[in-house]
Symmetry: D3
Subunit: 227 residues, 6 copies
């Protein structure tokens, strides 16, 4: 249950080195490195392709059609943060545009993940401020109701605690608990190193069937080849 | 982030009296009594109309197309519980049917809330075992992958901790944190008492405009009447 | 474009006899009688089955998450009206429940059509107050922003002018312009009379192919029968 | 690829006894008896609850907004058939209503499955003619373009050959190839018999964990119990 | 209610200077300048990014799967127009492709907004003819049923009168009533001028909290800062 | 009904010349050349724009959340094939990424069409391996359940037989039966040739109304011009 009307100023951000490093591996590898958990739903999409960022989560809870708390969260942003915005009910309004992005960038934010809509897409693209959102919409919002800042939120189906690491790219958005950031970075690095060799073999025509020794288990499971 | 492969046996269930009492008020009144938070998304719908239940949450995390953990969670059910099933990715398969319902009922469960599909709807209706689900589907599932039982989960956009109170009816499903169950029951009772008088007045033709003294604030906001 | 902050008190309601009579034919027949236009999108569904009503439209424009204007429109309801609620952006919140229904009924309303969510479904069903809505949701709303009453609105894809006739049943919702109500009632009556004979023939085993003399045009279009 | 403008008169209907018998088991059990295949997508829903039918498929291919071929297929219906209607592109129009149902019933049809919309829901319910559809819509259709009758079609994601058995109930719609009808009926009967004992045990409080001997494989997979 | 079978030749187009000028500000600013109304639903998306146009609306009403009227509307296009196509029921077919675009461009059209599907996306992109549509689909259409040209239509949830100004870009599509075009252009210009200073301040690190003097109202509303 | 656990090694691939040639015309022209059939649903979208390929279908049937058979199908790929992946129930998981793409490319595949999700979009784009998918998602899959390879499948609403020609581009995906590949290529070529002249005329300002001689049939249908 969400607590409303609260701004938490001090949060435990994940280890900076780990938080920064995770962008290198991308959402998919990090998701695998954590054991296939932590993903937001795939309806959250980047407004332009090619961005790949990681950073520490600063969270904000908004109400449908109301972006008042966006100005409150701006003050809590530190260098290397990514803002994660949850909404208390489904809403595609444009909660965020180029003015707020200017402010967020000035505060050191690396991007925004929002379970709602965004606008000024052309300007945001030119500014190089990446946003992952549920919708693109010009629809304006009001400033009338209190939400909260830096409380745990559910964004696009994923639990996000303030200070968690967010990794986002063309594949989607993944959340790494602050306490697991360093270990996940290690696991991701190992996973990536491991893939270099596999990629070379597969590129040379070796089949996954052989490389992963799948023929026997497939046969055991009953797979039949016919002509 | 979800921890996989874990079953927590001892959970702190909400106060029984409060948990039982909340059904009386229904999802909408309880949601309002908590300050308009705690709702699951409205895509979770009852498989038959008219059921209204409350109980303590026992949670289970499933993987798409795999209902193995449903048998694990059955053992953790106590009298007065409602099972809350989350899935690690969107899936409409039929994770639950009349056999599992027979088992759940024998263990004392009052219902199931699932962010996925359910089947044997006719039989479940005849048994009087209410289910709130995202879909109805005959699609069978396998038993191959570990999830968890009684960890905090996100179900239909809402955070559910084991032991929380679930209130579900034709309007939807609301989650009350265990620690707030008693206070919420009081607030809901007060709210309901307060509505009796209002209902009588409105039924007698008094307008909300007058009863809630809205005419002045509406005029201030600039509302104009024209002919 | 919507004009905001306006309540129009005097509207030209459709002829009462025609408005009342159209319920007899239902949404589908009336839609056909008008030449296959005037339908709302099929996502607007009745909260309970079996209701069939017609009445004159009183319109209200709401903002997402804000039901303030619902109290304003209540005062404009007269005996035989149906309230049509449009929202300025997609929203599934529960804008309407049993208290407002009590007020609407006391004012003489026959039902509500809303391009948003509704709650207290069990109570509304018991009261016999039919609602056609996009969603069912406990989500509460605020009272902060002005919309309008009795302006032309777009509801579920259909243009509705205040005073138009609304016909709603299990098949959906159709809008009849006030000026065409009487003529449409005639056409619907004729259509229905015409169907009695057709129904008897088809029930006796006569094929539509023969009754509608379709064999020749089908052959001309190139239809081939093979064994 | 669909062949257009063709009506196949002679089709190989599944064994009548098997086709009739499958209704007894319902869509879910039949789906399981076939090895978990053959289901239509769960967006196809019954227009009223409680119907459970099986019968031999007569197929029809329609174009969006055009129900001309519905009259052509009527002539091909024999006692015990269920009409399966596919559309060449997504469309929610009301292709079918009470007049066509009267004709279909007179020809011996037991129901309709349509990957589109249906109307006259109240009348169809009163007539007891069950329909599984993607939508309910008053929207009328024209009669201008040729489709086909009794060709193989894709309906709601499932391949249907004329003569296949269709089993439909509240859980959904399943397709049984004509050649497998008898064997599937046997497997379904066996499955159902097998469930009687299981149901009794589960109802007596025996856990699936023990009945299905799952404790050891779960432990092997790494499941951990904590307090 | 739509009148079918009508082509209106003379329409009152909005002031040309205002219509042309509005593209400069884009959909979001124009929407705000009108008081946050006039938007189409966000499911209407550009087929390629970066286009930003404004022009006077020429409207066409189509039936699902039928693009006959597209050829009728072509004749009514004048230099500086944008065609707005509504459909009488949901349909994703490809009503428009490169041949029609060639014709529309030759007549002076600046773009198309369609509440349905479009095809030949690669060719349209190469030609630089922007389209905002609900879907991209190769599905062909027929030419069999009359719609209308230059009647008021509902497109993607917005009312469009012939002659209104359409402003469309990556953020979406907004409709400006012809009579309000000049005034809206002024308001948009003022709004944009006003944002230059704000952007500079926010870029320099000034917070919206201070710039908009939000701290006091937030405190009044009950916002609490905790550590 | 799908047969599970089967890999068919020898399939009848469409004529190579025709299969290769069809890419030249694109999905829309090929769809028209076949008589407006054979399209997949428009929710299958390319992961990057601009690709246009044709090739012979190698099919694979997967279960939700399980990509085991992707490794089995890899072995069956020959130069010039396009893999078509169907899933037994709706699932947006990322069944395919850059490692599998490396393997598929090494085997000679020209692309993938999948009725599910894909990941490593950035890498796939860099590799120039085009994918048409229902979703983009990092969600990993397991390897536990047998599907089949080179059986007839339903993918995004279209029937695909192994060996059929797949044509895919920005407009969507179309399936050409192997036996009709050569004839369809001819028809597509003729259609394209025919469009050159039309395009020139339309570009010169000739109206479709005149070029297609539509004025008379439109008048006959009752079209009225008003001022």
């Amino acid at each position: 249950m969400y607590e409303l009307g609260v701004v938490k100023r001090n949060i435990n951000r994940a280890d900076r080195t780990a938080a920064d490093q995770l962008a290198r591996y991308g959402a998919t590898t990090v998701h695998e490195a954590m054991g296939r958990v932590g993903l937001m739903k795939p309806y959250v999409r980047p407004i332009y392709s090619g961005a790949r960022v990681s950073g520490t989560a600063v969270t904000v809870l908004l109400h449908p059609g109301d972006n008042w708390m966006m100005h409150v969260v701006a003050e809590q942003i530190r260098e290397g943060d990514i803002v994660v915005a949850a909404i208390t009910a489904d809403c595609t309004d444009g909660f965020f545009g180029d003015l707020l992005a200017t402010s967020f960038m000035a505060r050191g934010a690396r991007g925004l993940v929002i379970d709602g809509g965004v606008r000024d897409v052309r300007e945001l693209t030119e500014m190089g401020f990446p946003v992952w959102s549920k919708a693109i919409s010009s629809k304006g919002t009001i400033k009338a109701t209190l939400g909260s800042v830096n409380i745990p939120v559910v964004c696009a189906g994923a639990m996000v605690n303030p200070g968690d690491v967010i990794v986002a790219d063309d594949d989607g958005v993944v959340v790494v608990p602050a306490a697991k950031a360093a270990k996940t970075a290690e696991a991701a690095a190992a996973r990536e190193a491991n893939e270099v060799d596999k990629r070379a073999k597969l590129g040379a025509g070796v089949l996954g069937l052989d490389m992963y020794k799948m023929r026997e288990p497939l046969e055991k499971a009953g797979l039949k080849y016919i002509d």
